[in-house]
Symmetry: C2
Subunit: 355 residues, 2 copies
Amino acid sequence: MVTQKNQNNPIIDTDIHHNISSVYDLVPYLPDQWKRYILDYNWKPEERSVPFYQIRKATKYRMDTVPEDGSTPGSNYQLLKEQLLDKYNINYGILTGWFYEATVAKGWYEFATARASAYNDYTIEHWLEKDKRLLGSITVPKDPQAAVREIERVGSHPQMVQVMLGISDFAWGDPYFHPIFEAAYKHGLAVSMHLSSSISAQGGDFLRYYVAWRSLHPQAYMTQVISLITNGVFDKFPDLKVALVEGGFEWVPFMMHRMDSAYKGLRQETPWVKRMPSDYFRDNLKFTTQPWDDLTAHQFLNVIDMMGSEEMIMFATDYPHWDFDSPERTLPKQIPDSLRQKIMYENARDFYSLK
Amino acid sequence: MVTQKNQNNPIIDTDIHHNISSVYDLVPYLPDQWKRYILDYNWKPEERSVPFYQIRKATKYRMDTVPEDGSTPGSNYQLLKEQLLDKYNINYGILTGWFYEATVAKGWYEFATARASAYNDYTIEHWLEKDKRLLGSITVPKDPQAAVREIERVGSHPQMVQVMLGISDFAWGDPYFHPIFEAAYKHGLAVSMHLSSSISAQGGDFLRYYVAWRSLHPQAYMTQVISLITNGVFDKFPDLKVALVEGGFEWVPFMMHRMDSAYKGLRQETPWVKRMPSDYFRDNLKFTTQPWDDLTAHQFLNVIDMMGSEEMIMFATDYPHWDFDSPERTLPKQIPDSLRQKIMYENARDFYSLK
């Protein structure tokens, strides 16, 4: 399916935030019981209110991604096609969406389940069916049994490639959630994790400034990775693949070394973890490039060297957010072509088993 | 004061956990009001109970550090002198102690203040006065005004070199705590931060396994560093020096790049932060070697290269804990002598303004 135009420098973008223009877009896909909450009672998704939202709201999106009708950035297929897929000759674009609130919501799981299903149906009809280059993520509720049902409902759609687990203040490696990984595994789907707005920093509610909040994002990804490994998720499902999207990658070698070192001395407590933690990192985990922390080629090659693998990083733009990373400018010019090709295309192709 | 014996390969150990043999050691230094809590009511320091304590209690210490009378490891000066100071020809040993609970205790600040004072007096009489090689850390309560009074009370002791801030689930950079940094600064003291047993991981109470807990320690240090920098502590006190002890160092370059990158785009929200975050890392912060995460010389030199500084790391043993790092074996043999000397001695000498 690689286009003629871009056979030489193929690209897969692993983090595209398509969106609904408003919550009314979900109404056609909701059972009557839940339609009423939106149409009659004016239900809106909750956003955690923290001070930096004042500054974040004004600057969340690239200014040119607002459609002409003023609707939400990322909600217009034609504009996304022009500004991203066609402009950069993207071979595949992974839609990671926006609807993490249905996944991380506490309680009221029946409605959250209905919202997740509606969002998946909306994504299939309004996005996947319009463009074969677009690949989808299955939004699921936090309730494991309901999540499994949703994976079984839409998991066999040919353009659905992964289950999306939003990151909040709980750890997905908990045995309670293992049925979700099992269902993904059975359907040949990857799992992708992406931060939601409801994460706290280590230590609690310390999120006053956006610089601090952004710098602390990787903490939430560390918690997830450590949880998955120490709870034996990859021992139960050895070929399961998990992408950690938008959480950085420069911390990864440090955590590989740290966990290996701790495991050598302390594995008696987790006998179900059979391999060195760094083995799971290399064989089961992928990390994405955006936001690119201004690394030079020399620094970036150091990180790759410390990882001991060229296969752990996948390219992502984060379109249409303000900190969009362009395919043309993200990776430093001085890195070897073979490594560039792996990051821009091959690692994601293999991760998602694409042709 | 460098001994003849060790002029060629001098060593400063920046993390020695001297201890009391029991809480009764503090009684002579407590006001009558608080003596009663220990003598009459059997008060004991609280330890947070988490499952891995079962396994941790049996293995917390190097087995050979238990004194012959069976008392607490680290509580016997003669044994510590033989096993550490004399054995490895340590020029200076920084006592970081054990009494973080007085610092991170929630409420009941009057008693916590009395305990901190008693512990400091015990340290002076039973440790500092016995050996000029030993240098002390001032334990303070969390209440900033009481902490300032304690710094003023013992801060001019010639062997007291730093204020010790235990790390728990709050961030020391909060303006509420700035009087503590001001007092340290005025007295020419450094500040040292060390994890306590009361830290949670990002996301809350996810600390089931020791491998996980240990791998997550650096999160708590990240929270502190980001808090100090974004709250402008180093803009208020430009020469203030802060040591992050036992929290690892391999994550540091990643956080320098991450914060610089975030700051470039988002500093409008923190205009009081005048310099690039990585500048504060290089000029104001130090990190210690223990626990050494089994880095090879090549990997270690990569980390130093990514830091852009050879002056940010100080050697530490963590005596008498089970994961003690020997001065003879910690740093890989293949690193340059000049770098080794900086880490083993010079960086700490400069940090603590020693001769």
